[in-house]
Amino acid sequence: MIRFDNVSKVYPKQTRPALRDVSLEVEKGEFVFLVGSSGSGKSTFLRLILREERCSHGQVHVLGKDLARLSNWKVPQMRRQLGTVFQDFRLLPNKTVAENVAFAQEVIGKSKGEIRKSVPQVLDLVGLGGKEDRMPGELSGGEQQRVAIARAFVNRPKLLIADEPTGNLDPQTSVGIMKLLDRINRTGTTVVMATHDQNIVDQMRKRVIELEKGRLVRDQARGVYGYQH
């Protein structure tokens, strides 16, 4: 699903690489936590998967494709098989819940009939059935994140990238979001989630990848957030 071979990333005008010689593989259907302090390279790692950036050295394979060899005009096709969720939700404030989810289908040219069918379905899945016509501003943070997850999942991606999805949420709400992501994972979708939330990582007991100053320092199946000292 994802393979990094000796990947380094140096941003222009910076001497210290954001990622150094990272090699790892994520299999189909896995749930992976990406942990590390701020500036450890988590965001760069995710941006490389989304091909927002290209790596400086090494190779990044996502969904079996070498991203360095993927031409620019094919990137959208690749991204349609990926779902993304962010800490700040990134919803359109002037569109309703249903419209926000439908937007992800409209812009890739799905038919109206298809949209009418899949939007209520995915909203039910994330537990927002009955709130189709609310505006994002009327919803709680947790609900907004559910809308964002619905939008990320409505096109049934093979891979879901979540960048601190619980970063703005209280612990109780976070647990709900994690249950939802776990449910999505169980449908066969690979989930890669960057997080700072120690409780969640410790509770879920999933694979943990830790980055420190751009290096891969830990890759542990059924891991916890940090080493117990």
């Binding site: 096709q77 349609r80 098989q81 990926l82 990134r90 359109l92």
Partner: protein
């Protein structure tokens, strides 16, 4: 792609930047009106040049029957074959003459018809009212006076005219105006393009949330850019339509009504409606494509796809 979705995005975009859109429309309208005006001015000059303008420097007009009655230069009657022969012989002897062409009354009638078409004056003319003439090309166009002194007042000669010299002053003026129009047009065009680039930048910035999400869910580059490009094209097309309106109104008021030059200067042949109408598609196409291209290149800089 769903047209309805794209169209609604365009509407939203244009309304969001109403002042900017207005500025684009005005600058495109002005620059293209000047562009069209300059094309029409060139047409006008060409229309006025007539058949002989680019071919000869000096014309010797010979007396015809009606000149013999009205013109003191032709008091001795219409030109005779002998007079014509001696004029031609003298012309051929002169060093400054490069080429002489004889224009018969029938030829003159034909050329006049070609230039003035079916204006009221032309339709009342008959070939025998036309003048025969010798059209002379000089080795050095400045030597016009040599011909004038040699043939002015000679029997059978009605007048010697440096037609090109007379017209050149007028054409010089028109050309000057034309270049001024083009310079202003170029300036307005630059302004229009900069406004479009800026509009696109503002538009891209104010919609970065939408475009960011579009990018993440895998909308194609074309799909993301289309609303911006169409926005610029629509604004441009409105400007182009206004420019066309300007030209039509200008033709109407300057030549036919208002200033009414076609009656006040009835010896000058003015451009017709066909000249104006054939320019309109060119202007509309330019108004559509130029802003679209400008937007396309602006997006490469300001919108990550």
């Amino acid at each position: 792609m769903r047209a309805q979705f794209v169209l609604s995005e365009i509407g939203v975009g244009l309304r969001r930047n109403l002042t900017m859109t207005f500025a684009v429309v005005v600058s495109v309208a002005l620059s293209l009106a000047l562009f069209g005006g300059s094309l029409l001015m060139s047409d006008q000059v060409n229309t006025m040049k007539g058949y002989w303008y680019d071919k000869v420097n000096v014309s010797i007009f010979l007396c015809n029957k009606s000149d013999a009655e009205s013109d003191p230069n032709c008091a001795k009657g219409a030109v005779t074959e002998d007079q014509k022969k001696s004029i031609l012989a003298d012309l051929n002897k002169m060093d400054v003459v490069q080429k002489v062409v004889y224009e018969s009354q029938d030829d003159a009638y034909k050329h006049y018809k070609e230039q003035f078409g079916d204006s009221p004056l032309a339709s009342s003319l008959t070939p025998d009212q036309m003048q025969e003439s010798y059209r002379i090309k000089l080795k050095d166009p400045q030597k016009y006076q040599v011909i004038a002194t040699a043939f002015d007042g000679r029997d059978g000669v009605q007048s010697v005219q440096d037609q090109k010299g007379i017209l050149d002053n007028l054409f010089g003026l028109l050309n000057g105006m034309n270049w001024a129009a083009r310079a202003i047009m170029a300036l307005m065009l630059v302004v229009a393009l900069m406004l479009i680039v800026n509009t696109v930048r503002v538009s891209a910035f104010s919609r970065r949330r939408e475009t960011g999400i579009m990018r993440l869910v895998g909308a194609s580059g074309f799909y993301i850019q289309a609303p911006f490009i169409m926005e610029a094209a629509v604004a441009g097309l409105i400007g182009g339509t206004v420019a066309c309106g300007f030209l039509v109104i200008a033709r109407y008021f300057i030549i036919d009504h208002g200033l009414d030059l076609s009656h006040k200067l009835n010896l000058i042949n003015f451009i017709g409606w066909d000249a104006v109408l054939t320019k309109l598609p060119l202007i509309l196409a330019t108004s559509l494509l130029m802003p679209a291209l400008a937007a396309f290149f602006a997006l490469r800089k300001y919108l990550k796809v």
